[in-house]
C-alpha cells in the first residue's frame, strides 16, 4: 500500500456562463495504510475529486501522485480503485458477478487462477463463492455493494476510494457494510479515501478527517482532533447539524438570526474572500468588524494554521459543547 496525494488538484466543468470549478486547488494526502474520511455537502466536489483521481474526469491543474510518482497513464490509475455510490447502477446487469469481478483481475493471471481469485474475493467480502454465477438482479443492495468492493479489490489496488458507498443502502444494511469496510481495512491494511456526506459515518471509519466546502478542503486533521476541537466554523456547523439523540433542535442561536437561513452559495459563483463568510457564525454576519473574511481568501496561509484550516480565525478553538 502506498500513499496517495493530491497537489493543487483542480477540476473544471463547462465553459462560459455555465463554467464551474468543482474542485479548486485541493491538497490532500492519504497516508499509506490509513483511512482518510472526506466529508462535505452535495456540490462540494468530494465525488469529483475521487473521479479525477481514477481518471473519470480530466483535471485542469495540479497533480495526483502515488508515493511521489505522478499518475499519468491508464495503467498508473489502475492502482486506484473506486467503489461507487449506487450498487444497483455500478454492476453490469448482463454479467454475472463472477464475470464482473474477474474483469478487474489483472490479465496476466491464467483462467483457473482468475476463477480461484474470484472465489477468494467473494469469501473475503462475506459472500458465498457459489454466488459467482448469479446476476446482480438476484442480489440485495448490501450484497451488491459487497460485490463492488470485491471488484475494486480484484484489481490489486494501492488505494481504494469509496464514494458514498452506504448512502444508497437501507438503514438496516448500512451497518454491516461499514463493519466490512473497517474489517477489510484492518485485515489488509488498505489505504483508503472514504467519502460521505454523513459525518457520523465518516467518523466511524476514518483516522483522518478532511472537510470540503465549495471545491476546497477547509479543514483536515486527525479524526478525534477535528471532531472535538474543530478549527473551521463550517466543521462546527456540520457537527451541530448532525442529528443525534438527546440533542435538542433548539440551540442557543436566536430564531431570527440571519445565518440560520443563509442559503449555500452557488458553486458557479463562489463568494470572494472566504467562501463560507456569508453563512459563518463567527464571521462578518455576527461580527461586522471582521471585514477580512469578505475580502481576503483564507486559503493561502492554511498550511500554517492548526488543522490546515482555511479560516482567518482558526486559532480560536470552537468548543463543541457536550461532546
Amino acid at each position: 500500500m502506498r500513499e496517495l496525494s493530491f497537489e493543487g488538484t483542480t477540476v473544471r466543468f463547462g465553459t462560459g456562463r455555465s463554467a464551474l470549478t468543482a474542485v479548486d486547488g485541493v491538497d490532500l494526502t492519504v497516508p499509506a495504510g490509513s483511512v482518510v474520511g472526506l466529508v462535505g455537502e452535495s456540490g462540494s466536489g468530494k465525488s469529483t475529486l475521487a473521479k479525477a483521481a481514477v481518471g473519470l474526469v480530466p483535471t485542469a491543474g495540479g497533480e495526483i501522485r502515488l508515493d511521489c510518482a505522478p499518475l499519468r497513464t491508464r495503467r498508473d490509475r489502475r492502482k486506484l480503485q473506486l467503489v461507487f455510490q449506487d450498487p444497483h447502477a455500478s454492476l453490469d446487469p448482463r454479467m454475472t458477478i463472477g464475470e464482473s469481478i474477474a474483469e478487474a483481475v489483472p490479465v496476466r493471471r491464467r483462467r483457473a487462477a482468475r476463477t480461484a481469485e474470484v472465489a477468494r474475493l467473494l469469501e473475503l467480502v462475506g459472500l458465498n463463492p457459489a454466488r459467482a454465477r448469479s446476476l446482480p438482479s438476484g442480489l440485495s443492495g448490501g450484497q451488491r455493494q459487497r460485490v463492488a468492493l470485491a471488484r475494486a479489490l480484484a484489481a490489486e489496488p494501492e488505494v481504494v476510494l469509496a464514494d458514498e458507498i452506504t448512502s444508497a443502502l437501507d438503514v438496516s444494511v448500512q451497518g454491516s457494510v461499514l463493519n466490512l469496510v473497517r474489517d477489510l481495512q484492518r485485515r489488509l491494511g488498505l489505504t483508503m479515501l472514504f467519502i460521505s456526506h454523513d459525518l457520523s459515518v465518516v467518523r466511524y471509519v476514518s483516522d483522518v478527517i478532511a472537510v470540503m466546502y465549495l471545491g476546497r478542503i477547509v479543514e483536515a486533521g486527525p479524526a478525534d482532533a477535528v471532531l472535538s476541537a474543530p478549527r473551521h466554523p463550517y466543521t462546527r456547523t456540520l457537527l451541530d447539524a448532525a442529528p443525534a439523540f438527546g440533542v435538542a433542535l433548539d440551540d442557543p442561536v436566536p430564531a431570527d438570526d440571519p445565518r440560520l437561513d443563509a442559503e449555500a452559495p452557488s458553486p458557479h459563483d463562489p463568494p470572494l474572500g472566504c467562501r463560507f463568510h456569508r453563512r459563518c457564525p463567527i464571521g462578518p454576519l455576527t461580527r461586522p468588524e471582521r471585514t477580512i473574511c469578505a475580502e481576503t481568501d483564507p486559503q493561502p496561509g492554511a498550511a500554517d494554521r492548526p488543522h490546515r484550516a482555511a479560516c482567518h480565525f482558526a486559532a480560536e478553538i470552537l468548543e463543541v459543547p457536550g461532546r
Binding site: T15, G16, G61
Partner: protein, 335 residues
C-alpha cells in the same frame, strides 16, 4: 499532509463576452450560427449533388443520341467546364442574387418554376399542419385523462391500436384509399388537381391523418408521464379542481415534447407532400421534383432540394425558439 503550495488558487471565473449577459441574445446568436452552418452544408450538398452523379450529367440528361457539340455547349453554358472551385463560387454568388439556374429541358429559370409551384405546396402543408394541431392536442389530452392510472383499459387499447395501425400506413397509400372511397365510389370530392376548397379535403386528410394520430399518441404519453410527476401530486394536495390541474399543471409541462414532435412532424409533412401531390396531381413542387428527377433536369432538382431543405431548417429554428419561450429553464440550460 502535503507541503503548502505556492501557486495561488486558480481564477474560478472566466471572462465571457458582453452579449452573454443577456441569455436571449446569446441563445439567438448561437442558434442563428447553427442555422447558417446548416444552410452552408445544405448549399454545398446541393451543389455537390450534380458532381457526385457518376458519368456526365449533361450527357445523361440529353441522352446518348445527342450530338457531342450540343453536349459540350450545354456543359459550357452550365459552367461545368470550369474548375470546381470557380463553379462553387459562381453557384453561391448566383444563389445570393436569387438565380437558381435554368432548366435543362425547358429553358425556364428554376426560380420562376419554384415561384409558381411553391404556393400550392405551402398551402397544402400549412393546412395539414393546422388540422394536425387542432385535432391531436385535444384528442391526446382527453385520452390521457380518460385512461390515467390504468382506467378504461378497452378505450386505451382501442385508441393505441387504432392509432398504431393508421400511423403505420404511409400517406400515399392513405391517399389512394381516400381517392377510392370518397372520389371514385362516393364521388364527394375531386380526386385530382387544385381548385376550390373541396379539392383540398382529400390531400389534407391524407397528409394529416397519420401525423395527427401519432401526435395524439405522443401528447397522451407525455401527459400521462407528467401526471405521475411529483408536482401534480402537489397540485392534488392543494385540492385543486381536476380541470385546473390538467390545464395549468399538466398541459404546459407536456408542451415541450409536443412542440419538439410537432416540429419534426411538420418537416416530415413538408416533404410528405411530394407523394401526396403525385397521387392527387397537385401542381406543387413535389410533382415538379419527381418529373425533373426522371427527366434528369438537374438544375430544377437542385433548386427544389434547396427550397425543401431550407424550409425544414427554418422550421427547426422556429421550434427551437418556441421551446425556449415555453420552457423557462431552457435558455439557462442551453450552452
Amino acid at each position: 499532509m502535503t507541503a503548502p503550495v505556492a501557486a495561488p488558487p486558480a481564477p474560478t471565473r472566466t471572462r465571457v463576452p458582453a452579449w452573454a449577459g443577456n441569455p436571449w441574445a446569446g441563445f439567438l446568436l448561437r442558434r442563428l450560427g447553427r442555422l447558417l452552418v446548416s444552410l452552408a452544408v445544405l448549399v454545398t450538398l446541393a451543389f455537390g449533388m450534380i458532381h457526385l452523379i457518376p458519368g456526365d450529367p449533361v450527357r445523361a440528361a440529353l441522352g446518348v443520341t445527342a450530338p457531342p457539340d450540343l453536349v459540350d455547349a450545354r456543359r459550357e453554358a452550365l459552367g461545368l467546364n470550369d474548375p470546381l472551385g470557380v463553379q462553387f463560387v459562381d453557384y453561391v454568388r448566383s444563389l445570393f442574387s436569387g438565380d437558381l439556374g435554368v432548366s435543362m429541358t425547358s429553358g425556364v429559370p428554376v426560380s420562376e418554376t419554384i415561384g409558381q409551384r411553391l404556393p400550392a405546396t405551402a398551402s397544402l402543408a400549412v393546412a395539414a399542419f393546422v388540422v394536425v394541431m387542432l385535432a391531436a392536442i385535444p384528442l391526446g389530452l382527453a385520452m390521457a385523462v380518460l385512461t390515467r392510472g390504468g382506467r378504461r383499459r378497452s378505450t386505451e387499447l382501442g385508441f393505441t391500436s387504432t392509432s398504431a395501425v393508421v400511423t403505420a400506413i404511409p400517406e400515399f397509400l392513405l391517399a389512394v384509399g381516400l381517392v377510392f372511397v370518397f372520389g371514385v365510389t362516393l364521388g364527394w370530392f375531386p380526386v385530382a388537381g387544385r381548385s376550390d376548397a373541396a379539392s383540398y379535403v382529400l390531400p389534407v386528410v391524407a397528409l394529416a391523418l397519420g401525423p395527427a394520430l401519432l401526435m395524439a399518441r405522443i401528447v397522451r404519453v407525455e401527459a400521462l408521464a407528467v401526471m405521475d410527476e411529483d408536482f401534480v401530486r402537489t397540485a392534488r394536495a392543494k385540492r385543486l379542481p381536476p380541470l385546473r390541474v390538467y390545464l395549468r399543471h399538466v398541459f404546459p409541462n407536456a408542451l415541450t415534447s409536443t412542440l419538439t414532435i410537432g416540429g419534426l412532424l411538420l418537416s416530415g409533412m413538408i416533404v410528405g407532400t411530394v407523394l401526396v401531390e403525385n397521387v392527387f396531381a397537385w401542381p406543387g413542387m413535389g410533382m415538379t421534383i419527381v418529373s425533373s428527377i426522371l427527366a434528369k433536369d438537374y438544375p430544377v432538382v437542385q433548386g427544389i432540394v434547396l427550397v425543401y431543405g431550407a424550409a425544414v431548417l427554418l422550421m427547426n429554428l422556429v421550434v427551437d425558439v418556441l421551446l425556449a419561450v415555453a420552457d423557462p429553464r431552457s435558455t439557462i440550460r442551453e450552452g
